[in-house]
Symmetry: D2
């Protein structure tokens, strides 16, 4: 079958009939639904890229597993190469098309590869074999695979199983041919539109939380699976001047509800091995954060462009405070990207053969580049001026009586058509004074883990003990072990 086209991907969705609700109504056909359009458009890109001259060679890679050229997004990395390619692609694509979503696929498959290997080694299970078959199929058929990680949790002060037992996805029954799972996952962008969903635990688990140590794959239209969706940001078609970005690029978000869903053993990758849940979720989170170190800089590249274009159009490209704000944006972008590159080249091999990025660098880079998104939006408004939130609408602009007045009084840099300034003001509005801006901010802050989760990981992953030892040595504090030796 091999690498698919966007059309082939969309066609494959027509054969799937997931149970989807949006705005309180059942959606029978997501492919043609206007409020799914930009989401599928995003995801479809991962197929288009493989046919675009600029990206073709970057996203096609040889898989030793099936000895075929495959799409980068279903590749299992054995070295830094696929990470470096991913970084380049994500930065470029995110700048102009916001998000491709499919980075979830390698970011979830890679730690699953390692963890299933480790579980089998310890417990004599066959999860790894299941996964290898799954990956082979994904590679051969160029499947769009997403990951559902975040449990709905309920009262966050409670552990899984405390309080309502279904607040975390769990195995309610083991049967001969498979398992029955229940619960729900939140924040699962675009998942009605994928070919396979990987469901994995959302956190580390204690031995007594066995039922919650469950990882598996399902098709979106598996019986018992229901999606309640938040639509893409509206309007779903760009107006003439307004909403040019938000109408084309955002995701359907969804809660996936698993109402006693049966999963055959062949699609189960963990069931009860609590001691591996932490490794899996942390492997996923950190690998995914490494990816965000590249895509967030892409978005910032775009914001820098808007800021600089706006400053030009206002006639003040050299104002020191504007240059300062743009410089800060560049810092955020390049900080993230440097982390991505270091994460790629300074990573580590797992005994199973897969190669992981440097987790510490990934966490630091993600935190540094994503946590400033709100500042960046504020900078855009600061640079654009009050008109970014007070200018009349395009309906006024298109009114022939009002147009000459607006042409005149909204003019900016001399000799440049007012329409350029009006368009750029509306671009700032679309980014910062819109549902889209808030949604993207949410994505920057909470996707791949909250800022606090990253801080916790940073402290955990850094070797504080080694540093303490140096400090104590310099202070000439004699260690007990040294004393004994004497």
């Amino acid at each position: 079958m091999g690498i698919r086209t966007k059309q082939q991907y969309l066609d494959s969705l027509r054969d799937q009939h997931p149970d989807v609700y949006m705005l309180g109504e059942k959606v029978d056909n997501i492919v043609d639904h206007p409020l799914f359009a930009s989401s599928l458009n995003h995801m479809g890109q991962t197929f288009s890229l493989a046919h675009e001259p600029e990206f073709r060679d970057l996203v096609r890679i040889h898989s030793p597993l099936i000895d075929e050229e495959i799409n980068l997004w279903s590749h299992i990395p054995q070295d830094s190469e696929p990470y470096l390619r991913k970084s380049k692609v994500l930065r470029k694509v995110s700048a102009e098309r916001v998000c491709i979503l499919r980075c979830l696929e390698p970011d979830a498959l890679t730690p699953l590869w390692a963890v299933t290997y480790d579980i089998d080694k310890k417990h004599g299970t066959q999860y790894h074999e299941h996964l290898v078959e799954f990956v082979k199929r994904a590679q051969r058929e160029d499947l769009m695979v997403s990951a559902s990680v975040m449990d709905t949790k309920g009262d966050r002060s409670l552990r899984p199983g405390e309080g309502d037992a279904d607040m975390y996805v769990r195995c309610v029954r083991r049967e001969k041919d498979g398992i029955v799972v229940r619960g729900a996952k939140a924040n699962t962008s675009g998942s009605p539109g994928v070919n396979q969903i990987l469901v994995v635990p959302g956190g580390a688990l204690k031995p007594e939380e066995k039922d919650y140590a469950v990882a598996f794959a399902i098709k979106p239209d598996t019986k018992g699976v229901k999606f309640i969706c938040r639509p893409t940001t509206r309007p779903s078609q760009p107006r003439q001047i307004e909403k040019r970005m938000s109408s084309q690029f955002s995701h359907v978000e969804s809660i996936v509800i698993l109402d006693d869903v049966f999963v055959p053993w062949s699609d189960v990758f963990m069931c009860g091995e609590t001691e591996f849940a932490g490794q899996l979720v942390s492997g996923f989170a950190c690998t995914h954060r490494a990816a965000k170190c590249s895509c967030q800089p892409g978005h910032i590249d775009f914001l820098i462009g808007v800021a600089a274009a706006m400053a030009d159009l206002n006639g003040v490209p050299k104002a020191p405070h504007i240059k300062d704000r743009i410089t800060d944006m560049i810092m955020a972008a390049e900080t993230g990207y440097s982390a991505a590159i270091r994460a790629a080249v300074d990573g580590w091999h797992h005994p199973s053969g897969v190669y992981f990025p440097n987790f510490l660098a990934a966490n630091v880079g993600k935190y540094q580049s994503c946590s400033k998104i709100s500042d960046e939006y504020a900078a855009l408004q600061d640079i654009a001026g009050g008109l970014s939130v007070t200018a009349p609408t395009e309906k006024d602009w298109l009114n022939p009586e009002l147009r000459p007045l607006l042409e005149r009084y909204l003019q900016g840099k001399q000799g440049v058509p007012t329409e350029e300034r009006f368009r750029m003001l509306k671009m700032v509005e679309d980014l910062t004074c819109s549902e889209f801006g808030g949604w993207f901010m949410g994505l920057s802050i909470n996707a791949a883990g909250s800022p606090q989760a990253e801080r916790v990981d940073v402290l955990r992953l850094y070797d504080v003990e080694r540093s303490k030892k140096m400090a104590r040595k310099m202070a000439e504090i004699v260690e007990k072990d040294d004393k004994k030796k004497k």
Copy 2:
């Protein structure tokens, strides 16, 4: 006539027939237009407050000018008292009702009072007398007066008169009975709905920019005045759960175009005296920034409430990083408010008798409390979690089939109805993932001057020379003057 009711104010608008456009169409009746509703509601509050037990005594004040009890908003301050009252009112009202707008009235009249006094003294003109009459009328009739300050500017690297002559409002002709003015003012929130508009220069002027040194009052329906408006944030009616704040509290924004408008001399307060333009605009900006030191903390009070309620409903009110973010919000609010109080008590008297707030404190406080709004929105999303931008809509919640699923899987703190959490998530969404949030951010950043304008004023208002002198003295650098003495 005396202090009016909200109804009387709205009725007065029915007698005005301004030339208003919105969404490309002419608006004949703003009072009943749904997209003007929240704007007039805001402004109407300034009348309601005078009849509400909680505020009545605060907003009624004796005017020595007409020896009557008047509405605080048309009072000309002679001491710190009205500023202290304004601070209390603004903080409280802004917390629950976002913005009253009418603070512009005293903030513009006070510096006009001083400046007209100074001009007359120097030039033997009669502007001050004009203004006194204007104020008396505003006080007697409890007029809603707004200020239009920001010129459309065009290419910001050009001075008034360079390039298109009409980019700054100017006097195009002096006639026997009055003057004819032309140009446009931007960012004039709510101005079609006021009784009088004060038009003042937007910046300091050079001697050769005489035509631009023009200040005057006009009624919104004066011939030649046209408003092109941006509507209030939509929807204009709250839904059942969503959009509870944004639908009730935002302003119509407008560009006011003055197409050769005639203004009788009695309503002219400056015409040609360029050397006073800087004093006027700076007096207005700084006084208005002092006001923002109180209203922004009010809004932050509300955000703190949302953050803390959200943390409760998620079951994690004591997470250190959440307490940190809330503490930072409190810092921003109290920093602004302390500046407001100090500005009030540490102000200065102008020879004309009016009392100004401390400008340095006002600038610092405004900058410190307003510039963090984007961080605060990010904090709300961080605390609320991803669901603030991914949760299903109220239409799903209201669908009886989906409701039980959402009741279950969106539950938060044990024992608390899920609806409370859903409502609060939607409040976070309404604040941070909406046109409203972007608009309010814009207001925080650019209203009363950009952050950079405040920084420039801070450096200008602080006595750096005095500090340098101390440093040089401590370093035992002998000053030339000292040397001579020896």
Copy 3:
């Protein structure tokens, strides 16, 4: 006796013979010891000020208690007036003379006044009477009184009495005529040089920690009291050009050890009433933080002067990034000062009649103005350039062979003597590259409580519940109480 002169104060110290150690040696006479000089000089200022024309009227105040004019520093405030005066004096004096230390006196006496009143009311004790007598004496004799608050604590994870019982000062024995106390207090700047030391608990206490709820006054040369001191920063004499500030202005720091010290009942102000310890220490900390809101801005005023003078001397006073850093310093200074003024006018009366500053404002202001000291030192070095830490010493400057070379190659702004630049570089060095700078940074960070202590207080003092209520109301969450009513 009345208001003393600095000489009278110093003479009074000659009559005291405290048990003092410094640099491992016994110090018999602190008054003439070079390493005590700057400390006593600081403290002596509080007496000089009362005779200096600029300050005389500010620091002399009428005491209703003894119906005499007294020194401001032993006044018990009944309204905002003394706080406003203190603010003015502290800002001015700290700018040129760093620290007066004696603000501790009113900041400790005021909460003791309130707390002894409350204890007596509840327990029928006579502490308040003791304190009134103590204050009368302090006022009449213009005594220099300091406060010892910070216990040595030991393992900070343990409560008083857990682990070594003496890690917190405690009453080891109650006798007929008084009590016997043991323990040590740390961070007690300058205390060998005062007339009386107030010892109060360092934190809130639990009922079972009765022995630690002890407050009392002692003279420094009371039997059993020993001071182990850290000297003032060296050298203790300014060189010709270097060390002009550090050699004149810093404090002796000390640990005060109480080795079974007997205190007569008349000097005991609390003994066993654990429930009041928190109120006392918080009253002291918050009142003292209000004071720091004024003195830290004074120091920043000085730093601004050094920064601006340095920029002048380098020939780049208008570089935008330098103006930015100076603007940030001004922001920090004015933020603190606004908090001080608001704290003063927006305070509260205790039933005993004393007036306290607004604690919330005080905490916010202290945190905001003090926590940036390290940034400010970095800014000085940034503005001064590398020479602030690499320039040759004054010994090179004073060498006649090297002088012409340095005159030439260290020159800055044209037409200005190189010596001015050399002197200012050495001032930057003295502030930022010296024991003094580190000591002052420590003072800014940890005096009056650590930054974290202030953050905790900010969250505690703000009415979060009121904000939550507003948020819930806006979200239309029906409260239980409301439901019942319906």
Copy 4:
């Protein structure tokens, strides 16, 4: 001759007799001078490392130029490898030994290599040949080479040649065998102790500034060269407990004065080719900033150790605000290091064959990791508590009478000897409350260029035009070129 030992290096200095002044006196023998000790110790390390098992393989590298194994520090990089090695070595060595200084050697030789190549190509000169011979000699003889870059400048608002002509190093005379140079360079750490000094322009030059476009090598004891030095931080020997770091690790700083120094043509690498000055200085600055991206993280590693050890010893290793501050330090360290790694692997080849690091990444990383040093020192004091600046001296500790009292009252975590805490408090003091701390802060801020210089480079190096193009395309602004095509 090959790779030298530290002893061989020190011996080579004995054969050099530079004209050195310190503390106003002539220094005849720097090798045995106590105030040169730590500086030479630092520099000597670059030789020791080549013989230490941990570093030996990292710092020995094959030079294709002379086909021998050489010391990494005189290698001319042809690919990323030497940069990656340098990063590892610098981070590790800086953590425990602060600074090796010799990174200046490759950081100056590499851009000189490229620039001389370019000049020769354009002008048919022979500078590159001169440099190749110089490098061969440096490699064969393992010479310690430093760079002198920063001109003394004088009034920074003037260009070279405006005002005093000697404020920038210049060629005053071209002779048959060489050139005569005059001027001075500042901030030249340790330069009396090197074997060769490279002198290069400190900034870009205009065509009319020909005399200032001069680059050359000199031995420190060349006739006419004089060093006026600032000593290493004192004391020069560690005390028993105090000053353990500052006494061992700091540099002599110096101003190098060139009083009509003759340089033979063979050691001249640029003379008059103004158009290449900018390329040279920027190549040096950016390459050196890449190096600082590795050594600053090393120092932060050490600070993290002190912070964490201090928190342990105080008994509060898990306090959230302490973990926060340590996490921030890790962020700064890893941000720098990621930039170093990316700079290495994402660099570029110059036509001459040398390989440069990624300049954008280097600037961002240097700025981000170095600009927080002051915060980090403040964090240490915050974590350590007030005792870090108020604790008694080691002389008290060593006094047998006072020792038991201090043992008792300075105790921290239960069960741990008080001496450990005392030692660590003194380490914090040595780092943050000392001349050393200020000196290191100065190094972090100003070495390799000021923060503002880095910001300017960041904006210059980033492709803003590309970003603008994307923004304009998304906004559907039709470009002139596109219009023409249509």
